[in-house]
């Protein structure tokens, strides 16, 4: 019986790794969408059957596929995320690709959010079949200032990612924009405000800029609502009352630093989190530091960190772990997983103490998402 499924989205298709509760033996299924870019694939924890995948072929436009039988069969969205047709002479935007998918709160079955490149937010009320723009964000008068021009965007284009729902309030959402920063809404998307005070943006002249930041991965704890982010410029925890970020990455070893892409929170303990530091020196190689990959775990909300590299390659391993490519399952002890740009999936069944490679030779991995029972 499958206890854990891990959806692995890659530059050339989608795979699923499956195991029982022991998580010792894994089988690999797929590929689905062979040859197509799959940026994100997420199983719906609310029904245990639905899986939604963001797909784009090299030649063709972006779309979304959905499965209602755990990935056995797939059907294309009948209205994928797209901007409205612009009036003649107006600045027209087109969705380059769908980058991020998040199921909404448990109280809103069938509702999903999607983040795209360029930075825009879309919502579906029917399990991912038909999507419409969240006008409060996409048509916000400050949006263009927040996200900047294409020149301000990362090489693969700006993205809206890290869509998180406050577990205490389904209408309170957080999103991350690269570039742009973190933004939140308290009314289900009608109104938005930047949430970046205290967060560094070394590439901006204003040391306390209101927006323009580069959050790499934002996570909200599913039980407590605690908020953390791995930013281009460090690791942070949100002081919710003060609406200000505190740089908990200062407690990382100085020779490691606090640069990276992914971040993972423990499913039950909001003070435990994992990051995957990368080389942010000189020209920003964005590879495992020194060719010796390591995960770092904090068990005190970022007050201190411990290195976890047992089982990982000791040398000459130069992969990158992207922002969606690290996750935890919900078993006890929690399993932690990450996928690499060199097509390997690594797993720990002891909360990071030791690691083993459970898949290799896959295409460049874009995301890794665990799901219970599917």
């Amino acid at each position: 019986m499958v206890a854990i499924g891990v959806w692995v989205a890659t530059r050339k298709g989608l795979f699923r790794l499956a195991s029982d509760e022991a998580r010792r033996a894994w089988r690999i299924e797929g590929p689905h969408f062979l040859g197509q870019v799959v940026n994100h694939a997420v199983a719906d924890p609310r029904d245990g059957r639905t899986v939604v995948a963001a797909v784009r072929a090299g030649h063709l436009g972006p779309t979304v596929y959905r499965s209602t039988d755990g990935g056995t069969s797939w059907k294309e969205s009948s209205r994928p995320p797209a901007f409205p047709k612009a009036a003649a002479g107006a600045d027209a935007e087109t969705v380059s690709h769908v980058f991020w998918l998040t199921p909404a709160a448990a109280s809103e079955p069938g509702r999903w959010y999607a983040g795209t490149s360029p930075q825009a937010l879309f919502v579906s009320g029917d399990g991912g079949d038909r999507w419409e723009g969240v006008r409060g964000f996409n048509e916000h008068p400050d949006r263009r200032r927040w996200i900047g021009s294409p020149q301000d965007a990362p090489p693969d284009g700006g993205t809206l990612h890290s869509i998180n729902v406050d577990p205490a309030d389904a209408r309170h959402l957080y999103v991350g924009c690269s570039s742009g920063g973190v933004f939140e809404t308290h009314d289900g998307g009608a109104h938005w405000a930047p949430l970046n005070r205290g967060c560094a943006a070394d590439f901006l002249p204003d040391p306390d800029a209101e927006y323009g930041h580069d959050p790499h991965c934002l996570r909200v704890h599913p039980q407590t609502g605690d908020v953390y982010q791995q930013n281009h410029c460090g690791i942070y925890r949100l002081d919710r009352a003060a609406r200000r970020w505190e740089r908990i990455g200062r407690a990382m070893p100085q020779d490691v630093g606090d640069i990276g892409f992914p971040m993972v929170l423990h499913p039950r303990d909001a003070r435990t989190l994992w990051v995957f530091p990368m080389d942010g020196g000189t020209v920003w190689p964005r590879t495992a530091l020194g060719g010796h990959p390591a995960v770092y775990r904090s068990r005190d909300a970022g007050g201190s960190w411990e290195r976890q590299d047992r089982g990982l390659p000791p040398e000459q391993a130069w992969f990158t772990v992207k922002r969606q490519s690290m996750c935890a399952d919900t078993l006890d002890p929690a399993g932690v997983y990450f996928g690499t740009t060199s097509g390997e999936v690594w797993a720990s069944t002891d909360e990071g103490a030791s690691w083993s490679c459970i898949a290799m030779h896959l295409p460049h991995i874009y995301s890794v998402e665990a799901s219970a029972g599917s």
């Binding site: 090299g58 436009g61 994928p80």
Partner: protein, 86 residues
């Protein structure tokens, strides 16, 4: 008229690479195809009605750059998935 489609679109047409379509413009032909093969048009035309960057449309071997180009019933439309990445 005859429309020849590239392999990336074959899953929409039940793997038929040559299909018949009707329309007085490139846009009408693509919309006719989309009615029978839902989703096909959005993969080759974006939401601003521009032909996507790695797609080329030829009418009788002459490239059509806009959806508004007029067609005659005897024309042949060729949709090509051009060079794109590795």
């Amino acid at each position: 008229m005859k429309v020849i489609l590239p392999s990336p679109l074959a899953e929409y047409t039940g793997h038929a690479r040559e299909v018949e379509a009707r329309g007085a413009t490139v846009d009408e032909v693509l919309r006719d195809l989309d009615r029978r093969y839902p989703g096909l048009r959005f993969r080759v035309v974006d939401e601003q009605d521009a032909i996507r960057p790695h797609i080329k449309v030829f009418v009788n071997q002459v490239q059509a750059r806009h959806l508004t180009e007029a067609l005659r019933p005897t024309d042949q439309v060729l949709v090509v998935a051009a060079l794109s990445g590795g």
